[in-house]
Amino acid sequence: MIILLAIAIGALFGGATYLVLRRSVVKLILGLILLSHGVNLLIFTMGDGVRRGAPPLIDASGQPPAGVADPLVQALILTAIVISFGFTAFVLALAYRSNQAAGSDDLDDLSTTDRL
């Protein structure tokens, strides 16, 4: 399973890298979104093994089922998802506003603050 996830993670990171190198602000944002997916999946695979059908819920017996999935990474990812949601929303608003201020969605037009 891990190899499967590793391929997906590699694809996400690779695709994200490609997208953030584009000149379009839209693609930049999409790249950032893919990047956060990639990291979330990466953390997911870092758990105590990747398990099928064993969510970290304690049943009536009061004991966790055998071979249960790692709950810690899940909690971490949940935190990470929510944080990256906040960031995505912020970047969206920022992209919208800078697009408005610069009158262009070409990122190469946004280079006045470095002009010497």
């Binding site: 190899i3 996830l5 997906a8 379009s24 839209v26 999409l30 997911f44 398990r51 912020f90």
Partner: protein, 790 residues
């Protein structure tokens, strides 16, 4: 009783600001009582020094760094301290007259007092780091004084040059002193001086010597760092007289003299000093002859004398030590007098250009007499103190242990220099006081200045005559301990006007004769054309600054070039280097492939749709297509979560996916509907290669790490304790609100702050300039005024 001296001088600085509100010259003479008092207090401690003792004091400052304020009064410090405070007294008083009409007098005097304190601290320091502290302070105060008339570009330039050169040298010095301390095991001067043999044999010795000498040479204006000193003549004349002739520039000489018992005695030290010093001496003496500006002339002769002092330290021996001490005193006396006189002439005539002066003997007789006295000493004419000093210099050259060749060269150099001094002195005197009164000077009524203004130059000039005639005994007891400190061994010094007819005297007389002959051709020599620009240090330094600026600009434009994707590209490359290189080198062998035989079809499908979705996103031609492709990826991630036992994650991911898509749709509606290919094919290829490398790196990292079972994870603890201690069966939620509730607290804060940020972004729009409206300067700046009187 030592550090109070330094403190008094430093504390006087704020007091000096009072001069702004009261009668100028009286305030200045009142303030001059402070250096006078320090002079007296220092002299009061001279007794113990003359008996061969030392006064040592120490205040802890930063003991952990070996940086303590430790002070020592020995013969050499005493000599310097007396010069600093003695001349300082006169100059502070003189400044009150000189700057009587200047509103900044208080500020000027404050700088002077600060400088005086720093200089006192420098020579009294018993620890090389303490010494360095004051060393830098003298550079800074000197900067402020040179730039005192900062409305003029020349003043700013001179100040900048002097500070950059001396502070740059100071850095070399600091590192050199640290190396020295490292080698000697202590920063205390006494320890360093006692460790001479160890030091000379130490591996760090050459580096330390080179760095320390860099510091000393820059401070004392040795070739090729001499150029800042003429530039420093932009300072008001009292400052020039004090800093750039009598005291600060001698700091380098002081340090070399101070360290020569420990560091001297090697070819590296001795020959370097002798050669550099000799070259500086001769070169500057010749250049001095050609100047027309009184202060420039004096500045070059000062450089020359600094070279002479350096050379004598290098020549070494008993006479070298004696010569250094005597010349320091003699030079301080006549040169400070000459500078102050130049100031007097400038002050009265409104110019100090030799070509515009002349015939002043009828109008300024007192000034002329004092000038003549000082110049006689400067020229090394017998019975003046300068003569005694020059004799010792010649003795040092004759008696040196550096070999016949250097000895001969030194003697010849001294003879040439002495001759050049005579010419310079004669030119100065004749062009100012003799001949016809020039047109320029005729326009105003010229007289001697008020007597108060003549006290300053008068006292040292007269001393130059009286000392050799009447006080050679007492002065010997001042020079003796100083020479001993330079020599490193006890030394019996008895200065004398008449040593009998010896080689030194003959050379000396020869120089006088040669100079007298040369003086007749002085004008012709002076008319020789100036040095070409590429040979002039200040021009070279200007160009160096210019080059640094343009180089830095080019570099910065290249690096910080403005486009975000370039920054991202470099960042991605940096990641590939920072992580990829160690991974390929060390980590790649940890990769294990776990081929799971039970892999389900839908698992493969979900995972496979992710790369497909990614590629679809990249290749999307329309905005909507891209958003859909990204949503598919998100949905597949959620699917993977639910397949692999993470229902909470899956739910959250799905909800977030929906909300993000809504936001994307809302915002992207202003952006173009269709994408084009934004970049050239090769750029896309390059980016694709980087992206692929990144993908492989991250995938490889996951494989290497996830399959590694080096350590047991924390997870079982949470599973075991969730229900009982966390009162919840959903372990993920218990972790979120209890076990690691602190994370969640931060997380909701992130969300909340993001909202605040978005609110500000969308609701607050200000104009281009947030600070204040741009002020438009339409008129070209007026040319800066030219300073005629400084």
């Amino acid at each position: 009783m030592l550090y109070p001296l330094v403190l008094i001088a430093l504390a006087a600085a704020p007091f000096a600001l009072v001069a702004r509100f009261a009668g100028r010259d009286r305030i200045a003479w009142g303030l001059a009582l402070i250096p006078l008092a320090i002079f007296g207090l220092t002299l009061a401690q001279a007794g113990s020094v003359w008996e061969g003792g030392q006064v040592v004091e120490r205040i802890a400052w930063v003991p952990a760094l070996g940086l303590d304020l430790s002070f020592t009064l020995d013969g050499l410090s005493l000599l310097f301290a007396l010069i600093i405070t003695g001349i300082g007294t006169l100059i502070v008083g003189y400044a009150g007259h000189y700057l009587a009409t200047d509103n900044g007098l208080g500020r000027f005097l404050a700088y002077m007092m600060l400088f005086m304190g720093a200089m006192l601290g420098l020579v009294l320091a018993g620890n090389v780091l303490t010494m360095f502290v004051f060393w830098e302070l003298t550079s800074v105060t000197s900067y402020l004084l040179i730039g005192y008339k900062h409305d003029y570009a020349d003043a700013r330039r001179g100040a900048l040059h002097s500070l950059l050169v001396t502070a740059g040298g100071g850095l070399a010095l600091l590192v050199g002193l640290l190396l020295l301390g490292q080698a000697a095991g202590s920063y205390e001067l006494s320890d360093i001086l006692a460790a001479g043999d160890v030091l000379r044999a130490h591996a760090l010795y050459p580096a330390a010597v080179v760095l320390i000498l860099l510091g000393c040479f820059t401070k004392s204006a040795q070739i090729p760092f001499h150029f800042w000193l003429p530039g420093a003549m932009q300072a008001p004349t009292p400052a020039s007289a004090f800093l750039h002739s009598a005291t600060m520039v001698k700091a380098g000489v002081y340090l070399m003299a101070r360290l020569s018992p420990a560091l001297g005695g090697t070819a590296l030290w001795d020959v370097t000093l002798a050669v550099v010093g000799g070259a500086t001496m001769t070169f500057a003496a010749i250049v001095a002859m050609r100047q027309f500006d009184l202060k420039a002339m004096l500045a070059y002769t000062t450089i020359s004398m600094l070279g002479a002092l350096t050379m004598q330290i290098g020549l070494g021996g008993k006479y070298g030590a004696e010569g250094v001490a005597t010349n320091i005193l003699a030079h301080a006396l006549y040169k400070s007098a000459l500078f102050m006189l130049a100031g007097v002439i400038d002050h009265e005539c409104g110019t100090r250009d030799l070509r515009r002066l002349g015939g002043l003997r009828a109008y300024m007789p007192r000034t002329m007499v004092i000038t003549a006295l000082a110049l006689l000493s400067f020229g090394g004419i017998p019975v003046m103190f300068g003569f005694v000093a020059k004799e010792l210099m010649l003795e040092a050259a004759l008696e040196t242990e550096l070999g016949a060749m250097l000895s001969t060269l030194a003697v010849a150099a001294i003879a040439v220099t002495a001759g050049a001094y005579l010419i310079t002195g004669w030119r100065l005197f004749s062009n100012t006081f003799l001949g016809q009164r020039s047109v320029a000077a005729m326009q105003q009524h010229i007289t001697d200045p008020t007597p108060g203004m003549l006290i300053g130059p008068g006292v040292p000039a007269v001393l130059s005559l009286i000392i050799p005639l009447a006080f050679l005994g007492p002065i010997s007891s001042l020079i003796g301990p100083a020479s001993a400190a330079i020599y490193g061994k006890p030394l019996e010094v008895k200065l004398a006007l008449w040593h009998g007819v010896n080689t030194a005297l003959l050379v000396s007389l020869g120089a006088i004769a040669a100079g007298a002959v040369l003086a007749r051709f002085g004008e012709q020599l002076a008319n020789l054309r100036g040095w070409p620009a590429w040979m002039r240090g200040d021009m070279i330094f200007d160009r160096l600054i210019e080059r640094t600026l343009t180089g830095a600009t080019t570099l910065t434009r290249t690096i910080q070039e403005g486009r975000l994707r370039r920054y991202i590209l470099l960042t991605a490359l940096a990641l590939l280097v920072f992580v990829g290189v160690p991974f390929v080198g060390f980590g790649i062998s940890s990769i294990r492939f776990d081929l799971d035989p039970q892999l389900q079809f839908y698992e493969i499908l979900a995972a496979a749709l992710i790369p497909v979705g990614v590629i679809a996103t990249i290749n999307a031609r329309t905005r909507l297509g891209a958003i859909i492709a990204v949503s598919v990826v998100g949905a597949m991630v959620a699917l993977l979560f639910v397949l692999f036992s993470a229902p909470d994650l899956s739910l959250t991911q799905l909800l977030i996916e929906v909300l993000s898509t809504v936001f994307l749709l809302l915002v992207f509606s202003v952006l173009p509907v269709r994408f084009e290919n934004f970049s050239a094919a090769w750029v896309r290829r390059r980016d694709a290669i980087i992206a692929t490398a990144m993908g492989f790196l991250m995938g490889g990292l996951v494989l290497a790490t996830a399959t590694n079972d080096a350590f047991a994870p924390l997870a079982p603890f949470f599973l075991e304790n969730s229900l009982e201690k966390g009162k919840g069966a959903n372990v993920v939620n218990v972790i979120l609100v209890d076990f690691r509730g602190f994370d969640t607290l931060g997380e909701i804060t992130v969300l909340f702050i993001a909202l605040l940020g978005i609110y500000g972004l969308l609701r607050l729009r200000q104009g281009k300039d947030n600070v204040a409206p741009e002020r438009v300067t339409t008129t070209e700046p007026a040319a800066e005024p030219v300073d005629t009187k400084r």
